[in-house]
Each structure stands twice: as structure tokens, then as C-alpha cells.
């Protein structure tokens, strides 16, 4: 790996946002291809964050500071990515379901997906089925990520999926669900395409689903 990108990778992993921003600027100034900076520096670092999380070496705080460093770098890199026409890994429309205001899990998933190169449309929390439908109406191919922390709000997942079907948009999207009480069985029962138990696994699932979309 290029030395500057290696420094960028390390800075993100350590959650050092100033260093990360400095190294991404150095990489841009050195004329490194924006796509290479994104994939070899930033996406690779966030992938390592996910690996360390699953290995039990990183927890939520380490994930958050790494994601923050990644975002600080992205601010500088984004205009270059647009100029160079570098495509995102896919678009993800994400939100907590109607009735559920708990958003930390959803935020972590959004951060990790962003770190994996996905474009995030964060609808926030307590999102109605109509808002999800509206957000995906003009999309030809995207992911929808639904989060619920409570058993009392899990039924909203089926209501949202049914609304997407009723709007005639189901074939355009792949739907993933998650949240503390959500299970693989529940995901199948409500007609979702996949379930992930944490933010890191959500990235793996998103890559699988976007390929199948």
C-alpha cells in the first residue's frame, strides 16, 4: 500500500480525525486517484474496524471515533470523488421504524455502511412507512435498512415492507432488518431479505444484498 494511504488507514483505525484529514489531503495533493484513496485508505480501514469489532477487540467507542475520522476525511475527498465520477457501493435508505426513537444502533449501522463506501440516506428515527416509500420511489436499485430496539415496535417492520409492496416498489429494493430483539426468523416472517445482528455484519449483508439486487 502507498505510504500516505497506509498513514490514512492507521489514522482512521486509531480514530485520529485530524491526522486522517491531513493524510487524505496529502494523498489528494500527491495526485493519488480518488477511488484508490477511498478504497485502499478509507474503506479498507473501516473494514478492518469491522473485523476488529467482530473479533472483540473494538467496541462501540472505537467504532465511533474511527467513523468520525473517516467522515473527516470524506469531507475532503468527496468533491474529488464526484469530479472523478467514482460510484458509491450503493444507496442505503435507513431509519428506525415508526414508534421507535432509539437510534444508536441505526447510527452505528449507517456509519459503518458509509465507511464501506455506501451512500446513506438517513431518514432518522420514528419513520413512517410513507416516508420510506417516498425515499425509495425514484430509486431503481437500493437497500432499505430498518431498525427496531423494542418488541413493541418490531411489527412496524412488516407494515413498512407491506407499504413498499403496495407501492409497487418491492422489486427495486432489498430490505435488511436489525435491532436487539430482531432475529433471523423474524426477518423471514416479515419478508425481509436479510438480518444482521450488529453494524459490522450489516456491512457484509449489504454487500451481499446489493450484488443480488
Amino acid at each position: 500500500m502507498n505510504e500516505t494511504l497506509k498513514k490514512l488507514f492507521d489514522a482512521i483505525l486509531e480514530g485520529d480525525q485530524r491526522a486522517a484529514a491531513a493524510h487524505v489531503q496529502a494523498a489528494i495533493d500527491a495526485g493519488i486517484d480518488p477511488g484508490e484513496i477511498l478504497n485502499d485508505g478509507m474503506v479498507a480501514a473501516m473494514s478492518e474496524v469491522g473485523r476488529l469489532y467482530e473479533a472483540g477487540e473494538f467496541y462501540v467507542p472505537e467504532m465511533l471515533i474511527a467513523a468520525r475520522a473517516m467522515q473527516a476525511s470524506m469531507v475532503l475527498l468527496k468533491p474529488k470523488l464526484i469530479q472523478s465520477n467514482v460510484k458509491s457501493a450503493g444507496k442505503v435508505v435507513i431509519g428506525t421504524v415508526k414508534g421507535d426513537l432509539h437510534d444508536i444502533g441505526k447510527n452505528l449501522v449507517a456509519l459503518m455502511l458509509e465507511g464501506a463506501g455506501f451512500e446513506i440516506v438517513d431518514l432518522g428515527s420514528d419513520v413512517t412507512p410513507d416516508k420510506f416509500v417516498e425515499a425509495i420511489r425514484s430509486e431503481k436499485r437500493c437497500l432499505v435498512a430498518l431498525s427496531a430496539l423494542l418488541t413493541t415496535t418490531m411489527p412496524s417492520m412488516k407494515i413498512i415492507i407491506d407499504a413498499i409492496i403496495a407501492a409497487g416498489l418491492r422489486q427495486n429494493v432489498k430490505i435488511m432488518v436489525g435491532g436487539a430483539p430482531v432475529t433471523e426468523t423474524f426477518a423471514q416472517q416479515v419478508g425481509a431479505d436479510g438480518y444482521a445482528s450488529d453494524a459490522s455484519k450489516a456491512v457484509t449483508l449489504a454487500h451481499q444484498l446489493i450484488k443480488a439486487a
Binding site: 467496541y59 471515533i65 418488541t151 436487539a180 430483539p181 445482528s197
Partner: protein, 339 residues
């Protein structure tokens, strides 16, 4: 034999005559149960074995728009969650306590109900509860994600904040110890569904030393220490027992092996909770609820266990499932012999 004695026997593994219980219900679940028992006092129906004395966080000022403000100044939006709510805004916008004045830990409202509760439910095990007792109180003031990054960005502030919260709690504990209570129950969620939120290293660095100080105040007085901590936290049990913990709640069966832990910690740590609120109660049928309840009661026969659902009973639990576990616990032979 009164309920207080049964609780004490259970907490000491001294073969209680039956497994004691203590069940809390969310507001919607209470309404469901109350509709089934019109005009009855649900305390008489349920026959809980603990009485909560004093108020800690449960002093809220209604500020309109479905919002309340607690005594620390944290605003809670209760437009959806009627029982607890969601923190709105950020009380401590900067990583500093400068200018922030803690509430008076000895304010009269904290102890206002103690005498009445002890008089009304004197036969029960007496608990003083301190909800949001440390980490949770810190993040309600600072914001969860912000506090998580503060561990790295502003460690001295986090230490100061946690120790200030502990000072507040310790002052309150010292005051409640003047009453004839049995235990202090701390409440602080450290877990996710799988693993700790902040990981063992940060937990040991920031939280453990402060817990040690708080628990010591209770232990020195010869009282029991309870903790309510949601999520997958059983990796901390040995450390917690080492600083004086006696009883762990909520004992969620989805995140820890309840059948293995009761015998594993025999004579060291008692458990309170255990009935699934994520699966069995909302989605199981009456037979499922009865089966799981009986299994838990068998596990706790010789002590070390207090029966309860692993959370205040949520609103999506069918009435018949509530009635099923109430029926099972109240038909324990040892209980029937005493009533």
C-alpha cells in the same frame, strides 16, 4: 414467615420455602391487567416481595409537549415511550462540569415516601433504587454517542463526571441507610444484545473504580447490593461480586445462559429476572410461559433466585401470558402453605 424473610433466605441460599418474586409492569401492561381486575389493587393481585422506598430519578417536572425534565435537568420526550422516554437535547454541551450544579441529593422529595412505604409494605424486602446510577446518568447528561467518544477525547472529564455522580449517589445512600432498609439497587445498562457497549477495558478504567466506591458504602453498612444492567454483561460478574454485588437483574435469557449461571454462581451471586420479554412473553403462548416459569422456579428452589420477567412487562404481552406466570408463581406449594 413474611415475604421479607423469604427474600432474605433466597438471597442467602438458605432453602426458601418457595421462590420469591417481584414483577413490574409498564403503564400499558398495567392498564391491561387492571382492566381484568377492575377495582382491585394490583399490588394485592401480584403479591410482590419487594418494596421500593424513596425516589431518585423518579422526580419529573412536566414541561409540556409530552416532555418532562428530571431533577438533573435532563429533558425526556415521552410522546412514544410513556414509561421512560427518550433523552431530548444535550444538557452538557461541553465536556465540562463548569457552571453545572448537581441537584441536592438530600432533597426532601427523595425520601418523601419512605415512612409510608415501610408502613404499608413492612412485610416486604426493602429496596432503595438508584436508577441511571452512573454511566447511564452520564450519557443522559452528555449524549450517548458523545460520552462514548469522550472516553477517548476527554478522559479527565469522564472521570470527573462519573465521580461527581457517585458523590451524589453516596450522599443519598448514607441518608437512606438511616432507615431500616435491606438493599440498594443500582441501575446502569452496560450491555448490548451481544457484548458490552464500551468493552471491558474502558469499563474497568472508567466505571469499575467508581462502582467500587459506591458499592463499598452499601457493603460497609451490612446491606445488600443489587444491580440492574441490561444486555450481555455476564463477563463482568466476577469483578462485580468482588466489590460486593449480591444480586443481578434483569438476567435476560436471550443474552445469557440462565440455567448455567444460577448453579455456577451459587453462594456468590443471586439472580433476579429471567423470564424472556423478547420472545416468550410477547410471542409465546400460555403453555410456553408456564413451561419457562416452572423451569426458572425449579432452578431457584434452593435459593439464589428471585423470579421476574427480564424487564417491566411490555405492552405487547398478551393478558393471558401475564396471568399464566402469575398463576404459576402463586401456586408454588411452599407459597400456598404460607398464605
Amino acid at each position: 414467615m413474611d415475604k421479607r424473610t423469604v427474600m432474605k433466605l433466597a438471597l442467602e441460599w438458605e432453602n426458601p420455602p418457595y421462590v420469591p418474586w417481584n414483577i413490574n409492569f409498564t403503564i400499558p401492561a398495567t392498564e391491561k391487567l387492571q382492566a381484568y381486575y377492575p377495582g382491585r389493587d394490583l399490588e394485592d393481585v401480584v403479591q410482590n416481595h419487594m418494596v421500593n422506598v424513596g425516589y431518585d430519578i423518579y422526580f419529573y417536572e412536566d414541561i409540556g409537549n409530552d416532555c418532562v425534565r428530571d431533577n438533573f435537568g435532563v429533558v425526556w420526550d415521552r410522546s412514544v415511550d410513556l414509561d421512560i422516554g427518550i433523552v431530548k437535547g444535550q444538557l452538557l454541551e461541553q465536556p465540562s462540569l463548569a457552571g453545572y450544579i448537581f441537584p441536592d441529593p438530600l432533597a426532601p422529595y427523595v425520601f418523601a415516601n419512605v415512612d409510608d412505604q415501610l408502613k404499608k409494605y413492612g412485610d416486604r424486602y426493602r429496596i432503595f433504587g438508584i436508577g441511571f446510577s452512573l454511566y447511564e446518568r452520564a450519557w443522559t447528561m452528555r449524549g450517548l454517542q458523545t460520552l462514548m467518544t469522550d472516553f477517548y477525547d476527554n478522559p479527565r472529564f469522564v472521570h470527573a463526571l462519573l465521580n461527581s455522580i457517585a458523590d451524589y449517589n453516596i450522599a443519598q445512600i448514607n441518608a437512606i441507610l438511616k432507615y431500616d432498609i435491606d438493599a440498594v439497587m443500582f441501575g446502569d445498562d452496560w450491555g448490548q444484545q451481544h457484548r458490552l457497549q464500551m468493552g471491558p477495558r474502558l469499563w474497568h478504567e472508567f466505571i469499575y473504580p467508581v462502582l467500587k466506591r459506591m458499592y463499598a458504602t452499601v457493603v460497609r453498612a451490612g446491606k445488600k447490593v443489587f444491580i440492574h444492567s441490561c444486555g450481555d454483561v455476564d463477563e463482568l460478574f466476577d469483578d462485580l461480586v468482588g466489590i460486593g454485588l449480591n444480586c443481578f437483574n434483569p438476567f435476560q435469557p436471550e443474552v445469557m445462559d440462565v440455567s448455567a449461571l444460577i448453579p455456577q454462581y451459587r453462594q456468590r451471586l443471586a439472580f433476579y429476572g429471567g423470564l424472556s420479554t423478547q420472545q416468550t412473553l410477547p410471542y409465546g403462548n400460555v403453555l410456553d410461559v408456564r413451561r419457562e416459569t416452572r423451569h426458572l422456579l425449579e432452578l431457584g428452589q434452593t435459593g439464589g433466585y428471585i423470579f421476574s420477567p427480564a424487564h417491566d412487562v411490555p405492552k405487547d404481552v398478551p393478558l393471558e401470558n401475564m396471568l399464566a406466570f402469575i398463576d404459576e408463581i402463586q401456586h408454588q406449594p411452599g407459597y400456598l402453605n404460607l398464605v
